[in-house]
Symmetry: C2
């Protein structure tokens, strides 16, 4: 594995201490000397705890005065000045108990928390870490944090959440507390996670992967979870390494290490732990073509293409023609079809029509297949985009010559001079049929001879319930109904599927139900599917992931379904259907998706809804049907 020197993938490394350093500057210098970019330290001394006044140590009036105007004594502070801010993240007081059954402790905790936050914001501290969520009720904690972060802009707020609970390594209890908090705080984008790794990791991969859907800003790696290698140096177990690398790769968090209070790894120096983390960071899996291609597009919401209504731009063609896999597969499909349909040495000239030829990549595929198979072909290249058609004319003049006839027409309206043996098209969207391939190919079907074939022969839409705080928030940021009812093309990154995708419906071509004059109406392209998913852990659902698989010809497939994805093919990102409210999915419950593909004279659209049923079949959640009659999103015919 070559060492990746891509600095854009390097995480900052911090050193966390729970000690109270009166000379913080000195500690910062030492930490930097040992390879850390910043330190994590309590903001204030435990002396501030007196404000709880649990033992009536303060007189009533000064207690009341403090409540009215909570001001620090200079000697209470660890982070004393703005000079330290850029190199420090603050730990909020760990004695704060916002859900105490004692109303007075709740109140003083709230005031003290706000006092610390106020100070941190005043000195422009980089970040603040809330030390731990209560194990029981956390409604008041959620209310206070949600209210307190309103005033924070520069300083980031993180909640420390351990990966596992010692009492239950295979459950997701700390996540559940975090989930309660952020649900009560309505996915407040100012509240992040500082995920603390633990010695034990759950063996069920989904209990790790579900964290990829969370707003992790920092990962805490305590010295205690390191083990000693044979040489006496501290290292991490393979599962820890894998998980940390995944987090680095997908989320680029700040990495925070601690130093052990007593020496637990024989040959460890103060820089061993940060060096090991840096080592992992330098050995992330190499970026693939698709990753480079997608830089900046991860979890970004793109409106799906509507090539029937809009003409593509040259740049778009340029990008898609670079796909290393898609045209290989098309070539292979045409090649196999030619072998199947024509005897070797036959003089028969196979007529191929490429409908939607664009700038010609499929024409080239067909010509290569013809050459390789030693079958003669004549190709009609049909295109409705007058700009792309110029490029086709150049190719014909310069390269193709008589083998190719160019036709400037909309495939739904053209009358061909002859019928073809093979109709080749690339009209698929991320959901298969979402760019109206069914309607287009219904229209072009009359070009095909009896027993002629269509490449692709069929395509199937898949869907799965998806968790993603980032996608949830990207949609919510629009603050309107329309964006909650519009599907997006998205390069998934910080997401986690609740269950594996299932097929919704299929389209096959040529369609025997369409007559030789074309279809009278489009009702045969209506689809309705209901699929149910078993969910094994307590999770949240934020939306629906959509994919397609397509049979080009016999065993030649293209797929963006995660399990069968054509390796290296980047022409399609998945499609994402939002839902209007995040949905709680308790362990062992079933998520049901109802999905419709609908049509009227002028448009095609999807409607969808989600319901959740408990173990006993009880109805827990039913969402309203989304995008009623295409009110928010449709594709024009």
């Amino acid at each position: 594995m070559s060492e990746s020197m891509d600095m854009s993938r390097m995480c900052s490394i911090g050193l966390l201490t729970h000690d109270y350093y009166d000379d913080l500057d000195n500690f910062i210098v030492q930490a930097e000397g040992a390879g850390h970019d910043f330190v994590v330290t309590p903001i204030s001394h435990p002396t501030l705890r007196r404000v709880l006044n649990e033992e009536n140590t303060i007189d009533k009036e000064s207690q009341e005065n403090w409540k009215d105007r909570p001001v620090f004594d200079r000697k209470d502070l660890i982070i004393k000045s703005a000079d330290q801010s850029a190199r420090a993240i603050g730990l909020l007081a760990n004695w704060i108990h916002l859900d105490s059954p004692d109303a007075e402790i709740r109140l003083c905790s709230e005031l003290a928390l706000k006092q610390e936050i106020d100070w941190a914001c005043h000195i422009s501290l980089t970040g603040l870490i809330f030390p731990s969520l209560p194990t029981g009720s956390l409604y008041n904690t959620a209310r206070v944090i949600n209210s307190a972060v309103r005033s924070m802009s520069f300083t980031q707020f993180l909640v420390r959440v351990p990966l596992t609970d010692k009492s239950n390594v295979q459950g997701n209890i700390p996540w559940k507390q975090w989930n309660r908090l952020r649900t009560l705080a309505e996915y407040n984008t100012k509240i992040h996670v500082a995920l603390e790794l633990t010695s034990e990791l759950p063996t069920d991969e989904q209990l790790l992967d579900m964290w990829l859907a969370e707003p992790i800003k920092a990962v805490i790696v305590p010295a205690e979870i390191f083990v000693e290698n044979s040489k006496g140096y501290p290292v991490l177990s393979k599962p820890h390494q894998r998980f940390i690398k995944k987090l680095m790769d997908k989320m680029k968090p700040d990495m925070i290490v601690t130093l052990p209070t007593t020496s637990i790894h024989k040959l460890a120096t103060p820089s061993s732990y940060s060096e090991y983390i840096t080592y992992l960071n330098r050995h992330l899996p190499e970026l693939q073509d698709v990753d480079r291609f997608a830089t900046g597009y991860q979890d970004f919401l793109q409106a799906p293409l509507q090539p029937l209504m809009d003409n593509l731009e040259n740049q778009t063609y340029e990008v898609f023609e670079k796909d290393p896999i898609k045209y290989q597969q098309y070539e292979k499909a045409v090649y196999k079809a030619l072998l199947d349909r024509v005897e070797h040495d036959s003089d028969y000239v196979t007529t191929i029509m490429v409908v939607g030829a664009g700038r010609g990549p499929l024409v080239n595929c067909c010509l290569r297949a013809s050459e390789k198979s030693e079958r003669k072909v004549h190709i009609y290249a049909l295109e409705k985009n007058h700009n792309a058609f110029v490029t086709l004319q150049n190719a014909k003049a310069d390269i193709w010559g008589d083998k190719v006839t160019l036709v400037f027409a909309d495939m739904r309206k053209w009358n061909p001079p002859a019928k073809c043996d093979i109709l080749v098209s690339e009209l698929l969207g991320s959901f298969g049929d979402n760019e109206l391939s069914p309607e287009c190919l219904d229209g072009a079907q009359k070009f095909i001879k009896e027993n002629g074939i269509s490449i692709p022969a069929s395509y199937t839409a898949f869907a799965s319930p998806l968790a993603s705080t980032r996608l949830n928030n990207n949609v919510a940021a629009y603050k309107d109904l329309v964006h909650y009812e519009t599907p997006y093309v998205v390069m998934f990154q910080q997401v986690c599927e609740l269950a594996a995708p299932k097929p919704l419906w299929e389209f096959s071509h040529p369609n025997k139900h369409v007559g030789s004059d074309g279809p009278i109406n489009n009702l045969h392209n209506i689809r309705y599917s209901q699929v149910t998913f078993d969910v094994n852990h307590d999770m949240m659902m934020n939306g629906i992931a959509g994919y397609f698989e397509s049979v080009l010809y016999k065993d030649v497939m293209i797929s963006i379904h995660p399990k069968t994805h054509s390796p290296g093919m980047f022409s399609w990102f998945p499609i994402y259907f939002p839902i209007r409210t995040p949905v709680q999915v308790p362990q062992g419950s079933k998520v049901t998706l109802d999905f419709w593909r609908l049509t009227d004279e002028k448009k095609v659209w999807y409607e969808w809804t989600v319901s959740v049923h408990g173990k006993q079949g009880e109805e827990m959640t039913v969402l309203p049907i989304h995008n009623v009659h295409g009110r928010s999103y449709y594709v024009g015919l």
Copy 2:
């Protein structure tokens, strides 16, 4: 019981037939002759069922043509002309099966349904009844209905729902199907219920009352559920009578009777059933003062008063002073306090301060109590509204004389010349403390002598989870966040509580924690309460009902809590806190309300949230905290 002749309470009566009358005009004439205002009849003949083409009775092309343009043959129609529209409600075809497993039957059902709806709208039919919801999955039914009613404006759409399922009289299975439909249709205000009564009624009152929260437009009373009285006439059982009267009283539905196909009640004539329904309608419980006072205010959302920020208008005082009970109770409280505090025949002059005297009703209470108890009093009447103060001056000049000293001041700022024995105020809102009585009385507390008293002595806020389609829709109509996070004062009518109210918090006066100089800050008036309710049936929750109880003095109370409501007192309607999405509450689950009363220097506000937990404690729903930091609603200090 006197016969109420209030015509505004009379329901229309219709006659339903499932027969297919070729001469509908004649049937209408007969029905009107027998005392019916309208008829309910199928729109079309069963012959239309051929469009399902289940036995391939139509050739493919005419089937395709019909699908493209669904047009009626004249002979398919029962309701043939617009002349019949005003006197008829149509029954949609009962063979329509929108959730058939057969896609072709689903499609043709949808087209036939839309064809019938189109015709009904074209002839401006009053209403349409969807004959019955499927017993299994109804997602496609919901999708089709929700989409089809978009184009309906004059014609009303009703879904026939039987009250009970024969297989399970004590469950609410038909309601559950209805609930699924309207949840999927997002409380579409164009979809109503035609509730069909059944012979068996559930004995659990809540299974009846939950229908009061539904958008019932019509009640169907089949002839078969009538019993014969001793004279041979058809009558209804007492429970049926009670339930029908309740529906008439709260919802004023259209009442629809059927005629029996064979004679089942010896002496019944064609008009017996409608006459009996009219008889029940004429014998509704008489309207109370409060009902007359509240006409037009039922389920209407009023913004709560903010008497501290705004001055009340004369008309508002006028209305509230008419309360027959409130001032009786205040008089009684002052009377008992005077008896307790002063010996008979004593010359001691009790100083009473009425803070917020308005136009003087409490001053009059005190004077009457003084007279009745034969205790001497001197009254300070404090008022900050300069307009009301004019009326006070008139009363002093004309009636009160030296017994009353008028003070034009804000009670939070006035310095009294002497302290009082009794401080009397009426600053309560529907939730007790929501008009800032605690803050006002903290300020006025320094007027009270050591061992002096406050009337009221204390007050408690109560809350319960509430179902109400009407309130849900009234809030939703505003289409913004602010209205979902604002409490309203509401005269409840079409509502159903999921469980009995529980107390949240209490305020007592004088407050020992407030010093003689008044409070330094307002933090002692912060409250937080978490209450949990067991819910016995599958229900929906749309919001939170709020009430108060107040101890004026010892056993003298005023209350708007439904269980302890001061009879006839109309000064306060309940308060209603909306929630941002309706919440599914499965049978046997627990609803938890978290409620906060919060304060800063300038304002007081509430925050609230709802969570639902299943039988095993699993978290089914957690709503975001509402009204974060008073962003949508607060009361100014």
